[in-house]
């Protein structure tokens, strides 16, 4: 540019000629101007905008539900162990999951007491037995947990109140959060007081309720003293236990004690801290079953469907406005600028679709959680994860749709 043309560029009516040369482009100009153009175009066609938002929302709800189920599965599967108030556990190395335990010698509990750090070693018996519903007479498998009810190694809610009653012959406590197929035990208890119910081949008295919650492995739970457990499970050798819960004296170092126990005990028991025990149970459900995979797969399917919807919307938007995009190129907008417009559209859709999807998912968690008795709940971790997934999904759709911009050829604008 030179002096004369610069003069020409100043229109009459404006005081000073605009400074020439590219000034420093601020962040506002770099991204917010394309984003503003994207917003104006998105909001211009409301019907299209809403269908795009619905698509993103659908994907968000689907992913939230899949990840919610997945987390609920693992939470519920490990709920039993998480509720046990002990620092270290002994378990048969062959035990894969709590609903199908392998036994180990009870003597290991006594051996563990040899260490001064060990305050208590509580043997736990686990098995599943048939519960005959007091309402319909139908049989259903229920998880039975037998342990020393006074040791305080279990912190199931409500256990303290009934621990005395559990010492009676044939007494058992029912998990009030078991699935409803077991009958409305809480109501019957409130109306009639303790009542008898057939468990396995024996009549037992339900004396009170605790709260544990069903898992994928067990639809309901029944707690009782180890003596009563042996009364139901005939032929069970009392010297074989399924789990040993070890409580340490206050202030003892968990890791150091674990190492000492490992050195002390023979190789037929696994020494695990409580988080390790929970992780072991979780590992079973993650790897030995297809359930973890199925929910992961469902999440990916949701993301793909959402991506296809967003891609379709963005693609047809570019195709319908090809002349406008070509015009922008003709008047000096670069391909990269228009790419930013498309990307901004994608990310705006991600945010606009995620928010209602998030709210709908919270409602769905309550609704489905109430119907399935699974611990479904929104967590910040999952909120952030799903948002990033939806964001990435829309960004990918935007990148794919951008290729259509190449068809906007400014030379075609002149015919």
């Amino acid at each position: 540019m030179n002096a004369l043309t610069e003069n020409l560029r100043a229109p009459p009516g404006t005081s000073a000629p605009a400074p020439l040369g590219k000034g420093r482009v601020s962040l506002f100009d770099w991204f917010l101007l394309p984003a503003r153009l994207a917003t104006r175009q998105l909001f211009f066609e409301r019907a299209r905008l809403f269908s795009a938002i619905a698509g993103v929302m659908f994907a968000a709800v689907l992913v939230f539900m899949q990840l919610g189920f997945r987390a609920a599965l693992f939470d519920s599967a490990t709920r039993l162990y998480a509720a046990m108030q002990a620092e270290i556990f002994l378990m048969n190395p062959l035990t894969m999951a709590s609903f199908r335990p392998e036994a180990m010698p009870r003597i290991r509990a006594h051996q563990a007491l040899a260490l001064p750090e060990v305050a208590q070693a509580v043997p736990v018996y686990l098995t599943q037995a048939a519960w005959r519903s007091p309402e319909t007479g139908a049989k259903r498998a229920i998880q039975m947990i037998g342990f020393d009810v006074e040791a305080g190694a279990m912190r199931f809610e409500g256990l303290d109140k009934i621990s005395d009653a559990l010492r009676q012959v044939d007494a058992a406590g029912f998990d009030v959060r078991s699935r409803p197929e077991f009958g409305d035990v809480a109501k019957k208890l409130a109306e009639d007081g303790p009542f008898e119910v057939q468990i396995g081949n024996r009549m037992m008295r339900i004396v009170g309720i605790v709260e544990i919650g069903p898992s994928f492995g067990a639809d309901g739970n029944l707690v009782m003293s180890e003596v009563n457990f042996r009364r139901v499970v005939r032929g069970r050798d009392p010297s074989n236990v399924d789990l040993i819960a070890i409580r340490l004296v206050p202030g003892a170092d968990v890791q150091a004690t674990k190492a000492r126990l490992k050195a002390l005990l023979p190789g037929d028991v696994l020494v695990l801290t409580q988080p390790e025990l929970v992780a072991h149970e979780r590992h079973y459900w993650e790897t030995a079953t297809a359930i973890g995979f199925i929910f992961g797969f469902g999440s990916i399917m949701g993301l793909i469907v959402g991506m296809v919807i967003v891609y379709q919307i963005l693609f047809s938007d570019i195709a319908n406005h090809l002349r406008e995009y070509a015009t922008l190129k003709a008047i000096g907008y670069s391909n990269f600028y228009l790419a930013r417009v498309v990307m901004a559209s994608a990310l705006i859709l991600a945010v606009l679709g995620f928010v209602p999807g998030f709210l709908a998912s919270i409602w769905m968690y309550d609704f489905v959680g109430a119907a399935t008795f699974l611990p479904l709940g929104m967590t910040w971790d999952r909120t952030v994860t799903v948002f990033l997934m939806i964001f990435g999904m829309c960004a990918l759709a935007g990148l794919l749709a951008m290729r259509k911009l190449r068809d906007a050829n400014p030379a075609d604008m002149f015919s």
């Binding site: 004369l4 101007l33 153009l37 003709a330 008047i331 604008m413 002149f414 015919s415």
Partner: protein
């Protein structure tokens, strides 16, 4: 002496390759002076639109020399061509306004491409340009609510808003009736003249030939007549 805004020498251009190669411009030479209003006319297929797109840096050159606003386009990079386009005002046969944007926002788009002004200044200048084309009352209307002549006037305001060094127009009156076509053509000429901006316009429309400084006729890829 000032260099001409457009100086073309020995320009050849062909579509297709090999046996399908079809030359559309042959040995074209053309100069447009500062402030000159030039009408480019000729029958369909004579190559005038191709010439316009080459001058507008919308197409890559093949052979010859074409210097526009001091930028040699032969062998110019995409980046250089995009930057040159920002200094040219384009007016199309169809207005090609963005349907989602108001008239004022459409004009401001020409100023946002290489932002040197603040948002308020951009909107103020867009308003001034719309007033200059007689649309002061309609600044906030969407293009869909404007008549054909009004839309083309918005397009003129957009083309001139960024104070271009050159205006390229392709049949700007083709979609308009006689009265509004003549109005738009005179408006474009007057605005450009008052700013000293040269105009190169491709047109078939004999009704507006009278307002040109010079008429160049093309035929079969060659310039056959200059008057």
């Amino acid at each position: 002496m000032q260099a001409e805004p457009i100086r073309i020498e020995a320009l050849n251009y062909a579509y297709g390759e090999g046996e399908l190669r079809r030359p559309v411009l042959r040995d074209v030479a053309l100069q447009v002076g500062v402030g000159e209003v030039l009408w480019l006319t000729g029958p369909s297929g004579s190559g005038k639109t191709t010439l316009l797109t080459l001058i507008g840096a919308l197409r890559a050159m093949q052979e010859g020399s074409c210097e526009v606003l001091g930028q040699e386009l032969f062998g110019a990079s995409e980046r250089a061509r995009v930057s040159l386009r920002q200094r040219i005002g384009f007016i199309f046969q169809n207005h090609n306004l963005l349907g989602a944007l108001s008239a004022r926002q459409n004009v401001a788009m020409a100023l946002e491409v290489a932002p040197r002004l603040s948002e308020a200044e951009r909107l103020a200048r867009a308003g001034e340009m719309l007033a200059a084309v007689g649309l002061a009352e309609h600044t906030d209307r969407l293009p869909g609510k404007l008549s054909g002549g009004q839309r083309q006037r918005v397009a003129i305001a957009r083309a001139l808003a960024a104070q271009p060094g050159l205006v390229l127009a392709d049949e700007p009156t083709a979609a308009l009736d006689k009265v509004s076509g003549a109005e738009v053509a005179h408006l474009l000429r007057d605005l450009a003249k008052s700013r000293g901006v040269p105009i190169l316009m491709v047109t078939h429309d004999p009704r507006i030939l009278d307002i040109a400084d010079r008429v160049v006729t093309m035929e079969d890829g060659r310039i056959v007549e200059q008057s």
